[in-house]
Symmetry: C2
Subunit: 98 residues, 2 copies
């Protein structure tokens, strides 16, 4: 509890990948590191997984070259469809760290 309470509102340096162009998320990752983050989690589900890998690769190869891929986890998540049924969708979490 030594830090400012404002830090608790930051979702632990997570960048959630959606349908926007990859560079939008690359900018988010780079900004987190420039703001002092020691690690950033890049998360995605379904078709966005490919974009998450692009984001991690572009960020570390072009912008924050002192950052390495620390860990990659894949998992399955259950999501509720609009008609009440459930589907399984794959997910990825790529942890970039200095």
């Amino acid at each position: 509890m030594e830090e400012e309470t404002t830090t608790s509102s930051i979702p632990e340096n997570v960048v959630l990948i959606g349908k926007k162009p990859a560079m939008n998320y690359v900018l988010a990752v780079v900004t987190q590191f420039n703001n002092g983050a020691k690690s950033v989690k890049v998360r995605a589900r379904g078709n966005a997984i490919s974009r998450a890998v692009d984001v991690a690769e572009i960020a570390r190869n072009r912008f924050v070259t002192d950052v390495k891929v620390n860990q990659i986890d894949i998992s399955s998540e259950e999501i509720a469809n609009e008609d009440g049924t459930k589907s399984k969708v794959s997910a990825i979490e790529i942890i970039l760290a200095k």
Copy 2:
């Protein structure tokens, strides 16, 4: 050099993910394990990366439940376009192992 030379013709248990439905590749992975493979590499580039994660998740959760994700690597590869220019594309390698 103790093994039969025929093993050298097997491309070290690699399943390359393309544009077919995920279950086609799941079958390939499961077949490799059933043929005695101790590990199988699932590789993909670009948009197929999402499918590679699906394949790994479906295979280990539904078909070969004694298999674990041993290692995941992401990288960037340069590919030549038809007009002679070059593009960078992300790639993934997921190693499943007993």
